[in-house]
Symmetry: C2
Subunit: 386 residues, 2 copies
């Protein structure tokens, strides 16, 4: 979209964006410091700041300490300047939450639903849940995370055939009357990590979502990697072995080794008819069986991550999902596996971390998608709806 502008408006948009992003990154900065930071004249910074005031996303906060002259007035984000709504549309659940500019989650709701097979019901439910969360605050838009590649705001029909006929973005935009963006769940998890988690300011990192399916969100040079047609980051079907039949029909996919269904199966093999869920089993029991299962999974994942590191040279890898989140040994086993690999590799095992965002990471990322767009083109803030 930016590519089609070539006149002075592009300049203004770019400069507004840079100033706004810097105000966020610094958590408060004066006009004079902005001017020095960019090498831009103070008059221009003032003018840009005025426009950001009018857009309602920046406010003048306290005076900072004087350094021997007039004290600087600190510019800050205006946390309640706008609201965004994020939807995590999983294969069997829907989570919706509303968030403000400061990342504070104002409300949230969740339902269990077989979205994979009931697209119309899922759509209707999303509309109801979103409308229930709308307040009188100006709404920038709604972001939707889906568990498959996204092409032009539509779900890839290869993975979810029942959604084939549904143009998710335009349909919801019509019904809700606000801007709607759609993104892949792993990509949006990565976005959330970059805005609110442990990857703030990191331009090159990988977010690995390991749950029923396995996927990765790849950031390169500060941008999400989509690939030719939006399929980049399909970590789950990377071949890491010759064993293990995957639901995709191939053998040796990573998902067939560390996906939750496979781990559950392995537990069932040992304890027939157990009432333990996978997690409580892994957390509470510490038998050699659980150790074996965890070590095997860490071993398998380490192969895939080693490949990732070689190909993409990320600065960091962030793991998200129930296993890394609730089984602390897992990350340790993984680090051990990784460090026995790749002597040349520039990444250190400390660069592997567990996500700090919790279960709502993907929904947060969906909401953040709108902030990402609006921070790149702050004029979008002028088009908010009540």
């Amino acid at each position: 979209m930016t590519d089609s502008i070539y006149d002075t408006r592009l300049l203004r948009q770019r400069n507004l964006s840079r100033v706004l992003k810097t105000i966020r990154a610094t958590e408060g900065i004066s006009r004079a410091d902005l001017s020095r930071h960019f090498g831009m004249s103070r008059s221009s910074v003032s003018s840009l700041a005025d426009q950001l005031f009018e857009l309602g996303v920046v406010q003048e906060a306290h005076l900072a300490a004087s350094s021997g002259g007039r004290p600087p007035r600190v510019l800050q984000l205006k946390p309640n300047g706008c609201m965004v709504i994020g939807v995590d549309l999983g294969s069997s659940h829907i989570t919706v939450l509303s968030m403000n500019l400061g990342g504070n989650i104002e409300s949230m709701s969740e339902v269990q639903l077989d979205c994979q097979n009931q697209p119309q019901l899922a759509l209707q439910t999303i509309v109801e849940m979103v409308n229930a969360l709308r307040t009188k605050n100006p709404l920038l838009g709604v972001g939707i995370a889906v568990p498959c590649p996204v092409v032009d705001g539509n779900l890839s029909e290869q993975i979810l055939p029942k959604w084939k006929e549904i143009h998710l973005q335009s349909t919801l935009e019509g019904v809700l009357g606000v801007r709607v963006f759609v993104g892949n769940d792993a990509n949006l998890g990565a976005l959330a990590e970059r805005w609110w988690g442990s990857c703030k300011g990191v331009d090159d990192f990988v977010f690995v979502k390991m749950a029923t399916g396995v996927g990765a969100g790849l950031f390169h040079n500060g941008n999400i990697m989509l690939g030719d047609i939006g399929y980049a980051g399909e970590l789950g079907h990377v071949p890491i072995s010759t064993e293990g039949l995957c639901r995709c029909g191939m053998k040796g996919c990573l998902e067939a080794h560390i996906g939750l269904p496979h781990l559950n199966e392995r537990i069932q093999e040992y304890i027939e008819g157990t009432e333990y869920t996978l997690l409580t089993w892994l957390v509470e029991e510490s038998s050699s069986t659980t150790q074996d299962i965890l070590r095997d999974a860490a071993q398998s994942l380490s192969i895939a991550l080693s490949i990732l590191v070689n190909l993409l040279n990320p600065h960091k890898i962030v793991l998200w999902g129930p296993i890394p989140q609730y089984v602390p040994q897992f990350i340790e086993l993984l680090r051990t596996s990784m460090s026995s690999r790749d002597p040349w590799s520039p990444i250190q095992s400390e660069c592997i971390e567990v996500s700090s965002l919790g279960e709502q990471a993907v929904a947060i990322g969906a909401a953040t998608l709108l902030l990402e767009e609006a921070f790149s083109n702050p004029l979008l803030f002028a088009e908010m709806q009540i």
Copy 2:
């Protein structure tokens, strides 16, 4: 560099760049068509074209056919508007060539030299070879391709320790008195492919260099992927098996399976003391032994490429090196291996091709590095040296 500009000069630079790139992509276009193509006013296009004339990189060619009015004047690149020199600094050879804007190689020279262990001699040789190729045509600069990651114009000391103390870019810039850029060989091969080969206009593709070492140049969204510190694309040490000791110390690296040293070893196993070189053997003999070796190599490579496709979703994969170039069966075996994998994968086996650029691909890419920079900021053309 572009990031530090934020005033109207940025606009001008961007618009000059876009017009120049479009003139190249279309191989000749009128001002009126440019105006329609960008949605930009004819007056602005005229002004931009005038400046490109003054920079000496664009010329007015023939009149095109009239469509009922004044016939359009076609703008074209001026092939001899400038000269660039590319250096392929391999571990045991140096290739230098000079090229014009149209991609015509005007002269070339090559020497065998143990560059890996004799950095000072290599540097001196490069200077002599470059100066020998300089003519009275204006020279935009010199690009250097090196067989290791590049950090700030320096070679990564982890791979070539003897080059540790040498600041390649600044040293050569001082001695030669022209702009010097340094890049990784696989990345520059990819660049050459995008400018002159089968990936013209393709934004997402992978260039695989398979020779003694194995590396990849990754293009994403029209940009070379460097990663956090320039190590992206290290395909050679991707683990694809549990067998095969690699020179890096790990087991199962791709390079240990398809690197030329390994293939040579396997041939030696069968025919002790053979006088065949690897290539003539593979090309001329068609025994079951050669078939086995080729099939194994294709099989190993297909695992790595399958991983690549899953992670990066490229539009195309281009193979470069003696085996794919001179052994036509190899690409067929590889395609077969690939198509038995990844039923979900959006890439088709036809998307795998052999490079059409020949042995000088890397040196061509090194020269092209300067064109890439200058086409992004055409004002650089004003700073050419004789």
